[in-house]
């Protein structure tokens, strides 16, 4: 090699080594110990949070990936985020957890209810957060589940699919769509003496799980079942509407977004359908009472849900209303608030164990047997340590449309578990 060639190679190698220094500084995921002897790794700093409540507390960063702009659940997701912010603000005002404030505002990303966008958003915030305070959507969370399991990232899902009972990293609250659907079918058959039921649902973990529950309960109770898959978009409900008008089932279980449900219910009512509708919890939005479908909704719509809606009468509901102050009530608020309780319990347990690393948080989650929901759910609902078959919470609520209630629905049947749900052998996800 010529001298010039050797010089060039030497220069290039030096530059290369110098540049690697820039890269290593960028990563911030070294394990360390803070002053109080608690081990930390990703997403926990001893510096205070931006806009911290307690200036001498450290900061735990939790991420949020939700449907904030375009997807079918945006009207619910925005209140969910607001309620979670209010919840953790209250925790911080009460002193934080183990000398740390919790920050849920810095790492918020939109997923547009699209698994690909959700995955991208997760990759973006993965290196900055200890865990996810919210990941919205069952199919979207499914897209990042393998990565979360590989990196020990715990997440509180804004979804209730039955597969979550079998995943350690998922901190679900409330019963899942499968049991909720079973309870609803049982109630509908009792109330309306239904002989034929139909499940109109989105594809994937959300709609498919509920449809599987409807199917299982229908088999157990001996009623006829039909399942119709439908897409997102109020103009895309033609197939579902056509199916309902042709087959005329007694009860239709709708597991879609609020706008699409209103389109289906309104158009079928206009087409002469006189059956009953029962919607899975995220299918309702109080704004639907102002749509042209309102008369049909008031006459024939019921809603199932994992807990009492916004106006409920428990210490937890009271605390939530107080913390939120003057907002347009939505059951997104209720959901976001309740979902945060297990994360708080897990963080407290992790701090008690002295291990606030990702692995430590996961261990704390696996050890949780009860969670204090301040009355919104029974404490046994927060059992993440036991076998899914025994520990899964199977009770749900049925509400009817009530214009006087804050979120447009009020309870007609409080937390109950049907025989079909209790008897169901829960050895694997329904979908």
């Amino acid at each position: 090699m010529t001298t010039q060639g050797k010089t060039t190679v030497a220069v290039l190698l030096t530059v290369g080594f110098a540049l690697t220094a820039c890269r290593v500084e960028g990563d911030g995921s070294e394990a360390s110990q803070d002053g109080g002897g608690v081990q930390t790794d990703v997403g926990v700093t001893s510096d205070p949070c931006p806009e911290a409540v307690n200036a001498d507390n450290g900061c735990i960063y939790l991420g949020t990936i939700s449907d904030l702009t375009e997807g079918p659940f945006a009207p619910l997701a925005v209140p969910i985020v607001a309620a979670q912010e209010a919840f953790w603000q209250r925790v911080n005002e009460q002193g934080g957890i183990g000398g740390y404030d919790i920050d849920v505002t810095t790492n918020v990303r939109d997923n547009k209810y699209n698994p690909e966008v959700h995955n991208q958003a997760y990759q973006e915030i993965k290196g900055e957060v200890l865990a996810l305070a919210q990941t919205l959507g069952s199919p979207t969370t499914a897209a990042i589940l393998d990565d979360m399991k590989a990196s020990d990232v715990v997440a509180a899902p804004a979804a209730w699919t039955s597969a979550y009972e079998f995943e350690d990293v998922i901190l679900e609250s409330g019963t899942n769509y499968c049991f909720e659907a079973m309870n609803s079918v049982d109630w509908a058959v009792r109330e309306f003496d239904a002989q034929t039921v139909m499940a109109v649902h989105y594809p994937g973990d959300y709609g498919g799980d509920a449809a599987a529950g409807v199917d299982a309960a229908a088999q157990a109770l001996g009623v006829e079942y039909a399942g119709v898959e439908t897409g997102q978009g109020t103009t895309n409900q033609g197939t579902a509407i056509q199916a309902i008008l042709t087959q005329q089932p007694d009860v239709v279980f709708v597991t879609t977004g609020p706008g699409d449900a209103a389109a289906i219910i309104g158009q079928t009512a206009a087409g002469g359908f006189r059956g009953t509708f029962v919607g899975t919890s995220p299918t309702w939005n109080p704004a639907l009472l102002e749509s042209p479908a309102a008369p049909a909704l008031k006459a024939a719509y019921f809603q199932s849900g994992p807990w009492a809606p916004f106006g409920g009468d428990t210490p937890g509901h009271e605390a939530m209303r107080e913390a939120l102050g003057d907002v347009t009530p939505s059951d997104g608020h209720t959901a976001g608030w309740i979902w945060s309780y297990p994360m708080k319990a897990a963080l407290e347990a992790a701090v008690d164990n002295g291990d606030l690393t990702r692995a430590g948080l996961l261990e704390a989650v696996k050890g949780l047997e009860t969670v204090d929901y301040e009355g919104m759910l029974p404490e046994a609902a927060g059992n993440y340590a036991g076998e899914p078959g025994e520990a899964a919470f199977r009770q749900s609520v049925i509400s009817k449309v009530d214009e006087a209630a804050p979120t447009g629905v009020s309870v007609v049947e409080d937390l109950f578990a049907s025989e079909a749900a209790e008897a169901h052998e829960f050895s694997g996800p329904c979908f």
Binding site: P75, T230, G231, G233, N236, T239, A262, A270, S291, P292
Partner: protein, 295 residues
């Protein structure tokens, strides 16, 4: 039989919305030889305006005001972004209108918000009896209003001076300029008309289910309507729009039974297949004038 009547009325109702949008596309094309991809944005802008105004002044008064707003918006867009580009290749201007669509929709979506907004129309989902069949009032209303608007447009083009000027510019720009027609004013008028027509379309597209941030996609079905009707023919736009609406409605009603393997919501794709079928037979659309190219 009664189902067929209901399906036909639904088709004509949605077809009227497409016809209004298609008219807007064609009016702009005739004057400027450009397909403006900004029509979806003007449609949702008109719809959002109606949804806000109808709360204050009621639906019937809100629609004309929204038409004026839509026309004004289109005029503003034309003056700022299209005027400087006179003489540039047509493809470039078409992409600029695509950019305009994105920009206008950002603001309109901010107005609409995350929730579905209602337009406050008096028809809702109520039905009226037609030929002994219960059909939705909003489709009948949409069809009737569209008919009136199209008649007014034809009258304008036939009977007024500005209509004559627009027809002249559509035929031959240079000759019109030589005759003293202000071509710039005709461009502005075409865009304003298109914006107004899109606003009327928007006022009807949201009846029954409201509007949200994804409503603009409905407007893209008007593109096959103009192609199959003939891109420079006003009558073709109306026929194309109604035809597309009708075919969509028929497919939506009968395809799930006849051919379920085609998938759900096949009616979204049907306008494009229809357009392809027509183009294979008549490459310039049903009523379009063949282009003459010189070297």
């Amino acid at each position: 039989m009664s189902e067929l009547v209901e399906v036909v009325v639904r088709g004509l109702g949605t077809g009227s919305v497409y016809a209004l949008l298609a008219l807007g596309f064609v009016v702009i094309y005739r004057a400027t030889r450009v397909i403006s991809f900004a029509q979806p944005a003007f449609m949702v802008a008109g719809a959002a305006a109606v949804s806000y105004l109808s709360v204050e002044i009621g639906y019937v008064l809100a629609v004309p005001v929204a038409v004026l707003i839509g026309a004004g918006l289109a005029l503003a867009v034309e003056r700022t972004t299209i005027r400087p580009m006179i003489g540039k290749p047509v493809f470039v201007i078409a992409i600029i209108t695509l950019g305009v669509d994105v920009v206008v929709r950002v603001f309109v979506n901010a107005l609409i918000g995350a929730d579905v907004r209602q337009l406050g129309d008096p028809w809702g989902l109520e039905t009226v009896a037609l030929l002994g069949v219960a059909v939705q009032q909003r489709f009948v209303a949409s069809f009737v209003v569209t008919g009136l608007v199209v008649a007014a447009l034809f009258a304008f083009l036939r009977l007024t001076r500005y209509g004559l000027a627009m027809r002249a510019v559509a035929l031959d720009q240079e000759a019109s300029m030589a005759q003293g027609v202000s071509v710039g004013k005709v461009f502005a008028l075409s865009w304003a008309l298109a914006g107004g027509l899109a606003a009327v379309a928007g006022a009807f597209v949201g009846t029954g289910s409201g509007i949200d941030q994804t409503t603009y996609i409905v407007a893209f079905a008007a593109l096959p309507a103009i192609i199959l009707g003939g891109i420079d023919s006003i009558g073709g736009a109306v026929v194309g729009g109604l035809g597309v609406g009708l075919v969509q409605s028929l497919v939506a009603a009968y395809q799930p039974d006849v051919a379920p393997w085609l998938g759900s919501n096949f009616q979204v794709v049907t306008p494009y297949l229809l357009m392809l079928a027509v183009l294979l037979v008549r490459p310039y659309g049903l009523f379009g004038t063949p282009e003459v190219e010189r070297v």
